[in-house]
């Protein structure tokens, strides 16, 4: 029997268990709020959110691969498309669009029109340096690292700071091929 074709994000989203969107947003808000209280330093909170996202990403990738049945992506362009169309749809229920490819195809932007994490959120003046959705950048970085791509993910536009959309820039630093882990003489 030939392997099943990759499923579209909508199909999978319809099949997975879902939580209430408000619950998700409020829980995330509570986490960020608590981190701000514990750590106080906005940069620290950004780093911590990124680390949390990284830990999520390294596990999320297996779930993504198992449910979505995508075959291995041949190059970074396909990977970015897969993340934007299938991944975001599957886990957040929104699709992102991929834009701004640079000349060698190693860097692109994922643009999110709406973002369930930031419903009802406003940043106060004391937290202006905060990347509220930094967890997403960690998730993308962690997930890509598990498929052997070292990337750097940063926010270019953030609606909470007054821009009109969310733009995440994903830059491929290098592809790390598999190494034989055992030494030859053992």
């Amino acid at each position: 029997m030939p392997p099943a074709a990759p499923r579209s994000g909508d199909a999978i989203f319809a099949n997975v268990e879902r939580v209430n969107a408000e619950l998700f947003t409020l829980t995330y808000g509570a986490i960020v709020r608590q981190l701000l209280t514990d750590l106080e330093e906005v940069e620290e909170v950004n780093k911590q959110l990124d680390q949390m996202g990284y830990n999520i990403g390294i596990r999320l990738i297996d779930e993504f691969l198992a449910k979505s049945n995508v075959s291995r992506c041949v190059d970074f362009k396909e990977t970015a498309e897969a993340i934007a169309k299938v991944g975001f749809k599957m886990f957040l229920g929104v699709t992102a669009s991929v834009t701004n490819w640079d000349a060698d195809g190693t860097s692109c932007s994922l643009v999110l029109e709406d973002n369930p994490l930031v419903d009802f959120v406003e940043l106060p003046d004391t937290c202006q340096g905060l990347y509220y959705c930094n967890i997403l950048s960690g998730v993308v970085r962690g997930a890509l690292e598990m498929v052997s791509m070292k990337t750097e993910v940063t926010w270019i536009r953030d609606m909470l700071r007054g821009d009109d959309a969310y733009e995440l820039q994903v830059k491929l630093l290098k592809q790390v091929p598999e190494e034989y882990p055992y030494k030859d003489d053992e």
């Binding site: 029997m1 392997p3 390294i58 596990r59 990738i61 297996d62 779930e63 691969l65 198992a66 449910k67 049945n69 291995r72 992506c73 041949v74 598990m146 498929v147 052997s148 592809q175 091929p177 598999e178 190494e179 034989y180 882990p181 055992y182 053992e186």
Partner: protein, 145 residues
């Protein structure tokens, strides 16, 4: 019997249901199995007649490139293999008459996701110690045979 390895060669799981002859100690066995699969993958990719670009033998490969083999059969057993793009390898050694197990391996990968990956007490890269996973896996595999 069944093995699950991660991308660094750590054997995450080893189960056996019917293994009459044991040849090596466990560590050697795992290393041998992992080494075998690693080399086989490399070899099959290099010998691929449809692939235009070929590196030299021994050059490490990205998990995405090259064709990937999925089973081999000898006169006494059949070994089925599946590798996810994240480097998780699932191996099932069965009776030689078994049919194509690719769908089953995919199902086992899904089980792994549900019970192991989503478990907050599990640290990635360590051997799997989840009873629920073992039980479900057991039930599924016995149902296959």
């Amino acid at each position: 019997m069944m093995y699950v390895f991660n991308r660094n060669g750590v054997c995450l799981l080893y189960r056996e249901w019917n293994r009459p002859l044991r040849t090596l100690n466990a560590q050697q066995d795992h290393k041998l199995m992992f080494g075998l699969l690693f080399s086989l993958k490399s070899l099959t990719a290099k010998m691929d007649p449809t692939n235009a670009e070929k590196g030299n033998l021994g050059v490490p490969q990205l998990p995405g490139q090259g064709c990937s083999f999925h089973s081999f059969r000898t006169n006494t057993y059949k070994l089925s293999f599946m590798e996810s793009p994240s480097g998780i390898k699932i191996i099932l050694v069965t009776h030689p008459g078994t049919g194509d197990l690719r769908e089953s391996l995919k199902y086992i990968y899904n089980l792994y996701v549900e019970y192991v990956v989503k478990n907050p007490l599990y640290s990635p890269g360590t051997p799997i110690r989840s009873e629920l996973f073992d039980k479900t896996l057991d039930q599924y595999v016995r149902g296959l045979g």
